[in-house]
């Protein structure tokens, strides 16, 4: 197959925070794919029996894994909020440069507030999750 030039030509653009948000959307998506594996493994443990589930609970309760769970929660909030931003682009809104920058700021604000609320609900309001 002939090698042809492919977009995007990332190196020709001046860096903007909207670009960081774009790549963070992909990174959070890949992180959430790993979370999907853990979710499935947890469901299989619950379906297998008490011993398997106890093993899963022990691992999920470990300090480092709790940090990972918190990370997945943040990645989820990011991907959800920025995904809704993507869907508004898909229906044709906010595609101008200044609009995309404003929606970036609004989305980031929403992500911080929602992520902090959910982290509090999941890890502090109820003790260990």
């Amino acid at each position: 197959m002939r090698q042809r030039p492919l977009s995007p030509h990332l190196s020709v653009y001046r860096f903007m925070y909207t670009m960081a948000m774009s790549i963070a959307h992909r990174i959070s998506g890949v992180v959430l794919t790993a979370g999907l594996l853990v979710l499935t493994w947890w469901l299989m443990a619950a379906a297998t029996g008490p011993a398997a589930y106890a093993g899963a609970t022990r691992l999920l309760g470990a300090g480092l894994v709790q940090v990972l769970l918190a990370g997945w929660l943040v990645a989820f909030v990011y991907h959800l909020c920025n995904g809704i931003r993507h869907l508004t682009w898909d229906v044709g809104f906010g595609l101008e440069k200044h609009e995309a920058r404003r929606s970036a700021a609004v989305t980031l604000g929403a992500i911080v507030v929602i992520a902090l609320m959910l982290l509090y609900l999941a890890f502090f309001a109820r003790g260990a999750a």
Partner: protein, 127 residues
């Protein structure tokens, strides 16, 4: 009628004709996942505890298994489509790319089947 030259067609140039379906299913699953993931998160957070019996009775209760199966299907589909694009964009060595795409497809199928199997096993044992 095709406006492409016979040479262009045998050389495999041009559109593969499935780009729109990939793009569209990514959006359909995205829209479905907004309510499904929020339902899942808040149901999980409202459980009094995460011990074996509590979790199993929640998984098997009422509409939970239905929404959980939909969640697993939409999640694995959305995740498979997304990871496929990431691999296509960043892995440039052809054999590694094809291997990674195959591995991603198989792992996502395993995830979907295992997830649905686990939910149904718990839900049907609960009735």
């Amino acid at each position: 009628m095709s406006l492409r030259s016979p040479l262009g067609r045998v050389a495999g140039l041009g559109s593969a004709k499935d780009g729109v379906s990939h793009w569209w299913m990514q959006r359909v699953t995205a829209v479905a996942l907004v309510p499904l993931t929020l339902w899942f998160l808040f149901s999980l957070l409202s459980l009094p505890a995460y011990d074996y019996l509590t979790v199993r009775s929640w998984v098997g209760l009422g509409w939970s298994p239905v929404f959980l199966v939909l969640l697993i299907v939409a999640l694995s589909y959305h995740s498979a489509l997304g990871l496929q694009v990431v691999i296509e964009d960043y892995v440039h060595l052809k054999p590694v790319k094809v291997g990674a795409l195959l591995a991603s497809t198989f792992v996502h199928l395993i995830v979907a089947v295992a997830g649905i199997f686990a939910i149904l096993k718990i839900a049907l044992a609960a009735t």
